[in-house]
């Protein structure tokens, strides 16, 4: 489902991306930003690579056909990183707030003038919807983190628990295989 402002957005993917990237990077220390922006191998700069890939992906979806499947994919990849950066939830999800600012700053006036307020509201509503959806990803990542703390203890003492008959999980057949796979439920 595309937006009325699609054409304007499409023509401005790069400037919007650069603006939002700079806003997100401003939340990192100066010395780090220099590195994050370096054009290096995706394996040697995984943080920069993933953040940029995700932001670019989201903007492209916004300007294009907007499939939730793809949007979720990119949201998840960014948020999994943000969720373990010891930031407040509001800080972790601020990148979407910045996306809205960036769109407004780069093409806001143009959309208003050419297509009227409705078209701009439509774009902003989309980003709001993403932000709402982002909570699911954030919660899922944090819950996963806590689940892993418990899981790891079980694995660490696996045989002792098993011998005592204390294991109630997929490995023991006490739960169906699907129950173990809480991945990608969001």
């Amino acid at each position: 489902m595309s937006l009325k402002a699609q054409k304007i957005l499409k023509a401005n993917i790069s400037p919007i991306f650069e603006k939002v990237r700079d806003k997100v990077y401003a939340t990192f220390p100066k010395e780090t930003v220099r590195f994050l922006k370096k054009e290096v191998d995706r394996f040697e700069n995984p943080l920069g690579y993933r953040l940029e890939e995700g932001l670019k992906g989201l903007i492209t979806e916004l300007a294009g056909d907007f499939s939730w499947e793809k949007v979720d994919y990119f949201l998840d990849r960014i948020i999994r990183i943000e969720a373990v950066q010891s930031r407040q939830p509001s800080e972790a999800l601020a990148f979407l707030y910045y996306l809205k600012s960036a769109v407004r700053e780069v093409v806001g006036e143009e959309i208003l003038e050419d297509l009227g307020p409705e078209a701009l509201l439509e774009v902003e509503d989309r980003i709001d919807a993403m932000l709402l959806r982002a909570f699911n990803h954030y919660m899922a990542a944090r819950e996963k983190l806590h689940e892993l703390r418990i899981e790891e203890w079980k694995s660490r003492l696996y045989l002792l628990l098993k011998r005592a008959g204390y294991l109630y999980d997929v490995r023991e057949g006490s739960l169906p295989p699907e129950a173990g796979n809480t991945e990608k439920t969001h």
Binding site: F43, V84, S86, L148, Y158, L159
Partner: protein, 538 residues
């Protein structure tokens, strides 16, 4: 129409922008998930270490001894005299920045103090500020600062955000090894009772009982019997596992997690099947039942104390040589310190010689300890093993070089050679993330505790990122490794970042592939997971 500027609003919604202060003016914030708990006083006391007391890193007052500053300065002086490397590292860095972006903690956290150059600078600046004239006079201009209470807190925070993995040293033109600086920084902090529970408890259990969680001999035996039941069910064979057998030819030492933790136990099943196949004359010791040596993360003396048990047992049981299992830092200890600080080996030990192939392991002439991958690779090279790699066809495998076995001892080829013979699908991760450039699991050097989970997920991110790549490109669903900490922490790391990939030791895959005379037709692997093709047949 002027649109409102939104970003100003953020000031009201709990949003901290990064401060742009000088690094000497920023203080660490002890947020849950980013630090490990302090050691319990009883543990510190049992080990005879200084300043046992109740405290936590998030406390304002760490209850340091009144003369803490004097103790620390003396400790630094002492280490500078004893360790030439340390003295050199405090001096020669030219700040070229080659190491700056090579640390997985920097790559995963974006915190500049996790750049190895800055991590070392945390100590170097104090050495300058306290011991040099120019540092005392010019202070910050000369990169110097005095030792303060806050510096101690900062050291604790960042020297426990280094896994002593040595990746940075590979890129340093001067060979500066920040891991060595971390090792000594932690040792120095121990002198004023600044320590973590997750390291000292295993040290205590290893010292008093023989392994990290204090398994008693009968528990070890019962666990092994349980595993033998499983082996029998899967293969129809029940191998013998000799325990504390005097006069055996070989003492086998492996991380204790292989006796009870998932997935270490499957690796253990692999060893046992291999030894049975060979008819090896071997034994386990319940007293030296730990390959791991958390003494390495405590002090040189503690490392020596824990390691001595292995040699004592080799002497008591009158074995000829020692075979070591798939462990990480055990091998760092053996390779780096055995010939110097920890030796000499007891007199009854002989130069290790494979009873099957006759190969003499010359490189272990003085330590008398051979790595199981060297042993097995030698068997395969001599055509001594009947292997059916198709039994691992349900797995698409990659290999993670553990920091300690790769950069700490240089074992790259043997595990790969074995994997290529025991499975048909093997794919390497990108070149700049393996072998000597491997990325750490993010939980090594005693940081594999659950309260530290968030930081571990960050530190392990560069590793996981490369795994994800081979998962997507080749369908990799299993990562093999030769380290018990890896086997403990990589499953967790994978479940967060790449849940489709599971973890195993190399010898688990050997155990799957080994065709043993007299065994029944196998339908599952050692985890009771169906072999490829079996489900369809059934």
């Amino acid at each position: 129409m002027a649109l409102p500027k939104r970003d100003e609003l953020l000031k009201d919604v709990n949003y901290d922008r990064m401060p742009s202060k000088h690094w000497m003016d920023t203080k660490p914030e002890f947020r849950p998930g980013t630090y490990c708990y302090a050691a319990e006083p009883s543990v510190v006391e049992d080990l005879g270490l200084p300043n046992p007391r109740k405290w936590q890193p998030h406390d304002e007052d760490w209850k340091l001894p009144p003369n803490w500053k004097e103790i620390v300065l003396n400790a630094i002086k002492d280490r500078m005299e004893r360790f030439r490397s340390f003295k050199l590292f405090m001096d020669i860095c030219v700040r070229c920045g080659a190491c700056a972006d090579k640390c997985h903690f920097f790559l995963g956290t974006g915190d500049p103090k996790n750049m190895p150059v800055l991590r070392a600078e945390l100590m170097r600046s104090v050495v300058k500020g306290e011991f040099t004239r120019s540092g005392k006079i010019f202070g910050r201009l000369a990169g110097a600062r005095p030792l303060t209470y806050d510096v101690i807190k900062e050291w604790f925070y960042y020297y426990y955000q280094c896994t002593e993995c040595r990746r940075c040293s590979v890129f340093c033109p001067y060979g500066i090894d920040t891991a060595e600086i971390t090792i000594l920084a932690r040792e120095i902090l121990h002198e004023i009772g600044v320590n973590i529970d997750w390291i000292l408890k295993p040290v205590r259990f290893s010292a008093f009982v023989g392994n990290h969680i204090g398994l008693q001999p009968h528990t070890i035996q019962e666990n092994i019997e349980f595993l033998l039941d499983d082996i029998e069910e899967i293969t129809g064979i029940r191998p013998e596992v000799p325990i504390n057998k005097k006069g055996a030819e070989i003492l086998f030492v492996t991380p204790s997690a292989d006796f009870f933790a998932d997935p270490g136990i499957y690796t253990f099943m692999g060893y046992v099947l291999l030894f049975h196949y060979l008819g090896l004359d071997w034994t386990l010791s319940t007293y030296a039942s730990e390959g791991g040596n958390f003494g390495l993360f405590t002090s040189h003396e503690m490392m020596r104390k824990l390691h001595a048990k292995i040699y004592h047992e080799a002497e008591r049981l009158k074995v000829k040589w020692i075979l070591g299992g798939e462990c990480g830092h055990m091998w760092r200890v053996v390779h780096q310190y055995e010939d110097t600080a920890l030796g000499p080996a007891p007199k009854n030990l002989e130069v290790p010689k494979s009873p099957i192939t006759g190969t003499v392991f010359e490189h272990a002439k003085s330590t008398k300890i051979v790595h199981i991958c060297e042993f097995t690779a030698d068997l395969i090279a001599h055509g001594k093993l009947n292997l059916d790699p198709s039994r691992n066809d349900h797995l698409i495998v990659t290999f993670h070089d553990s920091c300690n076995t790769s950069r700490g001892m240089g074992i790259f080829e043997e595990p790969r050679f074995i994997l290529r013979h025991v499975c048909n699908n093997f794919y390497e991760m990108p070149e700049n993330t393996i072998r000597e450039k491997t990325f750490c699991c993010g939980s090594g050097s005693g940081l594999n505790t659950d309260e530290y989970m968030e930081m571990r997920m960050r530190g392990g991110f560069p590793r996981a990122n490369a795994v994800e790549y081979v998962h997507e490109k080749y369908g990799v669903n299993r990562m093999a490794c030769i380290c018990a900490i890896d086997r403990a922490v990589l499953p967790t790391l994978m479940k967060y970042w790449v849940p489709e990939v599971s973890i195993s030791g190399v010898h688990e895959l050997v155990g799957n592939a080994l065709v043993i005379p007299g065994e029944k037709k196998r339908t599952t692997d050692l985890r009771f997971e169906p072999l490829k093709g079996v489900e369809e047949e059934a």
